[in-house]
């Protein structure tokens, strides 16, 4: 719901020149550390890591941010786009200040994960993938997080929280500004 609104009102920057110069500089400064992991003749291999870094710096992967990554790796922009849209951890639409991702797969739901997700939707007033009106939280349902023994589990800004109870979830969400 609300992420569709965002998509209509905010298409985001389209070209590299529209990106904030200081953030572009930060991205460029981070590149060598990423590139050193790959053979020099396989620069494009750094695509996943470079997109991750760009997302951390720019908040989400706008068309301009995707172009920046492709440009720096000597790849066509479509290569960045196909990777950015393939993996679920990349945001190709604006998201809230925090992203909360609840696992509802079998082991988590047997331990209350589905209930937890439904309660959060009601509490935050959003549907799956939606962002609260104040832009504080984007909520979505995700697949198995590999925390089945310590279910239910969720990610908050990509950090794992496990063995969740209604009380612990309330506390974790309360800490998100």
């Amino acid at each position: 719901m609300s992420h569709h609104d965002h998509a209509e009102t905010e298409r985001g920057p389209q070209d590299i020149a529209e990106l904030p110069k200081d953030k572009v500089a930060r991205f460029d400064a981070a590149l060598p550390e990423i590139l050193r992991r790959y053979p020099a003749d396989h620069k494009e291999a750094a695509m996943l890591a470079a997109l991750r870094r760009a997302q951390e710096i720019f908040g989400w992967l706008s068309p301009a941010a995707q172009k920046l990554v492709a440009d720096r790796l000597g790849a066509p922009a479509t290569r960045a786009e196909e990777v950015a849209t393939f993996y679920v951890m990349y945001h190709t639409r604006p998201v809230g200040r925090h992203v909360v991702e609840v696992c509802t797969n079998v082991s988590c739901s047997l331990a209350g994960g589905f209930d937890l997700f439904e309660n959060l939707k009601a509490q935050l007033g959003v549907e799956n993938g939606g962002t609260t009106k104040d832009g504080r939280i984007t909520l979505r349902q995700v697949e198995c997080l590999g925390s089945c023994g310590t279910a239910p589990a969720m990610l908050v800004d990509e950090e794992m929280y496990e063995s969740l109870t209604p009380q612990s979830v309330e506390k974790i969400l309360g800490g998100l500004k």
Binding site: R79, M89, N105, S109, G112, C144, G146, G149, E162, S168
Partner: protein, 443 residues
């Protein structure tokens, strides 16, 4: 009788540091390996009956011998993508004993003349990626990795951590290599197999985290000793992750031929609710489901295969008799629909179709024709796709409908789920977990 622990031995110490690992004898196996002819190391691994612990169970030593003799460079990819629902073991090796993995990688690379290795870890494992980065940093600083392997060999080895970004399919070995190459995770046609044409077109070995973590023990104690711990053609111990409706979920290291019923009823204390076990998924969500009366079976891959299922990735999911089988299967079907990469039509179209039909039946809007359809569809996906995801999506659907058919019929005839709001069972809460000797209390 005290059981031999290979993988979880150091977990209760909660000390992943290099100093701690060394104090417990760590990296002595690498020292020993560096004094062996590389081919002798491969022979020990072959003799050990070590089989891949990612799910397929392929003999590791045999896989290693598939590398062509004269092509260089060769690469090693370590599969830490652990994403099969119900599977949560490799992450703890990374958290509690990352140097065990690093040592296994170092020995494997020395044995196979590989000088560059990538640990591909799923993007959601941020903490585990940090633990591995830290371990690698320590190993480089101590001169174990880098230009002189183990501080003495005239052998350079670089190991890097590469993070995924959320895609189950990247645990499939050829999709994993695509992802390491910085691409979307589309599986490749096989043959050629990765050992012949792999990463950047070069011969590549892909081994699971748990698989490689066994290698130091095999070098220290010999392949025969490892084989003796297991059963049949599967050597060693295995990590079984038990989740769902059990009193003590967690990761248990047991001999490869351990009994599934014993694991659930004794080690895990039976169901948390005290109700009977209704269904068990024995090896990750792709493995065919067993009824509660079918679980008195060995988890050794060949033995459990004879029982019509597989111990796959060692992820055991237990459901008591308060759980709706249609609800559970619909959620599993949703997973495969979400995670199908979209490359092959039968899987791309078939997985969401199965999911929608199952949701329809669960809602009480299904007909007997829908039930017929859901019995037919999996057979039209099986074997029709490039990778095993199609089969993985089909097997749970086939087995759930076959083994719990009356429950599906009841949903159609009763126009709904009799469990109502408790389709996920009556004991939906976090429980104290027991992970290789470490308590994880529910907060």
């Amino acid at each position: 009788m005290s059981e031999t622990l290979i993988l979880t031995r150091r977990w209760p110490k909660n000390d992943p540091s290099l100093a701690g690992y060394r104090a417990d004898g760590g990296y002595a196996a690498l020292d020993k390996a560096l004094g062996m002819p590389p081919a002798a190391i491969v022979d020990e691994v072959k003799a050990s009956n070590l089989r891949g612990r990612g799910g397929a169970g392929f003999p590791t030593g045999m896989k290693w011998t598939f590398l062509p003799k004269d092509v260089r460079p060769r690469y090693l990819c370590i599969n830490a993508d652990e994403s099969e629902p119900g599977t949560f073991k490799d992450r703890y090796i990374c958290e509690y004993d990352p140097h065990l993995l690093v040592e296994g990688i170092a020995i494997a690379c020395f044995a196979l003349d590989i000088h560059l290795a990538y640990i591909y870890i799923r993007g959601e494992f941020a903490k585990q990626a940090r633990a591995l980065e830290k371990a690698l940093e320590e190993a480089y600083a101590a001169g174990i990795l880098g230009p002189k392997l183990g501080g003495k060999a005239d052998f350079a080895l670089d190991v890097h951590v590469v993070r995924g970004a959320g895609a189950y399919i990247c645990g499939e070995e050829s999709a994993l290599m695509e992802s390491v190459e910085g691409k979307k995770g589309y599986p490749r046609f096989k043959p050629p197999f990765p050992a012949i044409v792999g990463l950047w077109g070069k011969p590549t070995i892909i081994n699971n985290v748990e698989t490689l973590a066994n290698v130091p023990w095999i070098v220290t104690n010999g392949g025969a000793a490892f084989a003796a711990l297991g059963a049949g053609k599967t050597g060693g111990t295995r990590l079984f992750g038990v989740s769902g409706n059990v009193k003590r979920p967690g990761v248990y290291e047991k001999p490869a031929g351990y009994n599934l019923k014993k694991l659930i009823l004794e080690d895990c204390g039976g169901t948390a609710s005290g109700r009977p076990v209704k269904a068990v998924i024995p090896g990750g969500s792709s493995s065919p489901v067993l009824r509660g009366d079918e679980i008195d079976v060995s988890l050794e891959p060949d033995a459990i295969k004879a029982a019509g299922t597989m111990s796959g990735s060692g992820g055991v999911i237990v459901m008591d008799d308060s759980v709706c089988m249609v609800r559970a299967l619909a959620r599993i079907a949703m997973f495969y629909a979400e995670e199908s990469c979209g490359q092959c039509t039968p899987c791309r179209q078939g997985t969401p179709w199965m999911w929608k039909i199952l949701e329809k039946i669960e809602r009480g809007e299904g007909t007997m024709d829908d039930l017929k359809l859901i019995e037919q569809l999996p057979g039209n996906i099986m074997g029709q796709t490039i990778c095993a995801l199609g089969d993985a999506a089909a097997m749970p659907v086939q087995s759930f409908v076959k083994k719990f058919r009356q429950e599906f019929v009841d949903h159609v005839e009763g126009r709904g789920c009799k469990h109502g709001q408790t389709a996920w069972g009556v004991s939906r809460q976090a429980r104290e977990a027991w992970v290789g000797g470490n308590r994880h209390p529910a907060r």
